[in-house]
């Protein structure tokens, strides 16, 4: 097949998948929200969960984006070195955003820096954001789509602590941010923590952490235990759905890490709102695809 034809097919596949991601939550998130909903007993928390699930049903029925803030579209690409369209993939992803913006439709969320104008098509300087990793010698790519909404992005931050602050400093930093900012970010939240030796590495790891499916754990048993401690502790804050108090605050806490410099201990924090619009798709060299995040979806 000619590559121009392949590019067209891939572009349409990605545009359709962006549309799905905006309108239907991934299976693991729906499962977790159902679980948390059942633990709430106050009338206010129950009323909020009722609205959330009513909204998910209406979004499916009317084929509309779950939340009006369809975010800045981000792609995290894990590429095989022999994927035939590797060099064209960036262009394919940009074009797929342009199409989805009109067809879905998506809200216009790309505002150019300094000129401060909305481009009205979700395409701007370095946006959609594409993060690349070459992971193996294969001929497939796996792409995570994430719709980074404004409310969920507001608590995002990174800091470099001195090692004397210890991991205790990380705990304090996350809790301080959650109490001041988490309540506005549409809880229950998925919390991503990046731990590394410099701020930018910690920040990107924290974003990758919220792309991990619910129920997965840090590979180091100490890291996995840290995730559990943080999840339990954040839930004990009792922030509840929409910050209006309740029995849970988070859908989960995920940590991603990179070795640090002896002199620095950096922490990055990213949060995903309850409407965690993430999707995982694998593109193959014969132009077929496999969706991992949303069972039963055909594009």
């Amino acid at each position: 097949m000619r590559s121009a034809e392949s590019m067209q097919i891939m572009t349409n596949t990605m545009a359709k998948f962006i549309d799905v991601v905006g309108k239907r939550l991934p299976d693991d998130i729906v499962g977790k929200l159902s679980e948390l909903r059942a633990t709430e007993d106050s009338p206010l928390a129950k009323a909020i969960y009722d609205s959330m699930f009513d909204n998910l049903a209406k979004a499916a029925e009317l084929d509309r984006p779950i939340c009006q803030d369809t975010g800045v579209i981000s792609f995290f690409v894990k590429a095989g070195a022999k994927f035939p369209l590797l060099a064209s993939l960036n262009g394919i992803l940009v074009e797929s955003v342009r199409i989805a913006t009109t067809d879905s439709p998506l809200r216009h969320n790309a505002v150019q820096i300094f000129d401060e104008v909305n481009t009205n098509d979700n395409i701007g300087e370095k946006i959609p954001y594409v993060h690349w990793e070459i992971v193996d010698d294969g001929d497939e790519v796996e792409i995570e789509i994430y719709m980074a909404g404004g409310g969920g992005s507001l608590p995002g931050r990174a800091i470099t602590l001195m090692p004397s602050a210890g991991y205790e400093g990380i705990v304090k930093y996350v809790f301080d941010t959650m109490v001041d900012w988490g309540i506005n970010a549409c809880p229950p939240l998925l919390i991503g923590i990046g731990i590394a030796g410099s701020a930018e590495i910690a920040a990107i790891l924290s974003k990758k952490a919220i792309l991990r499916p619910i129920g997965t754990a840090h590979p180091n048993p100490k890291g996995a235990e840290f995730e559990k401690l943080m999840e339990k502790g954040l839930n004990e804050l009792g922030i509840g759905p929409q910050g209006l108090t309740g029995n849970s605050t988070v859908m989960g806490v995920h940590v991603e890490s990179a070795a640090r410099h002896p002199s620095s201990l950096s922490v990055g924090l990213s949060v995903g709102c309850w409407a965690h619009r993430r999707g995982t798709i694998r593109l193959k060299k014969d132009n077929s695809y496999e969706i991992k995040s949303h069972a039963g979806v055909a594009l």
């Binding site: 206010l44 009006q68 009205n120 409310g151 205790e168 809790f175 309540i183 506005n184």
Partner: protein, 201 residues
């Protein structure tokens, strides 16, 4: 018992409504967020919509257009705290009675709600299709130069809600009260976790 407010809203209509109550809205609501607040308060531009007794929504919707008709596809709240810098003066200048958004607002907005008898309410965040189905019609748009999220969209709504009252006309502030509780709990929880994360030794 479902409490429904109707625009134009009077100070008397809001008497007895307390933080944590759930109300609904019939009538008109106008989207108004970051730049519209800045234009009125900081840049001194006249707001092209009369908000006396009215309602604003901190929201940036998704809208489609067919000819000269607009369709509300998806509309939910944005973070109200971003408007805290301007809201006190905004309430005083416009006579708005109902400010809807998500998350809490601060002491200055609470003072304005008390002085001018207004409410801040939360519409459940992320519930934007629910919101859109409560819009009967988009009656107009102003400051369209700001783009789809920031323009002033004037909607007629029916049974719009649930709206959870976060600041009442006495100036009580639900989120600030909750925040105090969260901060108290936080100190204890952080101290407990800290005992178990001494990995550097």
């Amino acid at each position: 018992m479902k409490k429904t407010l109707k625009t134009p809203i009077s100070s008397e209509d809001l008497e007895g409504i307390k933080i944590g109550d759930i109300v609904y809205l019939d009538g008109h609501i106008v989207t108004c967020r970051d730049v519209a607040h800045r234009r009125l308060i900081e840049l001194g531009r006249e707001l092209p919509v009369n908000l006396v007794g009215g309602a604003i929504f901190h929201a940036g919707p998704i809208i489609t257009q067919e000819g000269d008709k607009y369709n509300m596809i998806s509309i939910g709240p944005t973070t109200s705290m971003r408007m805290e810098r301007f809201e006190q003066e905004f309430i005083a200048e416009t006579g708005v009675k109902l400010v809807v958004g998500k998350g809490g607002m601060g002491a200055k907005t609470a003072a304005a709600c008390k002085e001018h008898k207004a409410l801040h309410c939360v519409f459940p965040g992320g519930c934007a299709v629910l919101g859109a189905t409560q819009v009967e019609e988009i009656e107009g748009v102003e400051w369209a130069d700001l783009g789809m999220p920031e323009a002033l969209w004037i909607s007629r709504v029916k049974g719009f809600g649930p709206l959870i009252v976060s600041i009442d006309t006495q100036g009580n502030n639900l989120f600030e009260q909750n925040k105090t509780i969260f901060h108290e709990r936080k100190e204890k929880i952080v101290a407990e976790i800290a005992k178990n994360v001494k990995f550097i030794k």
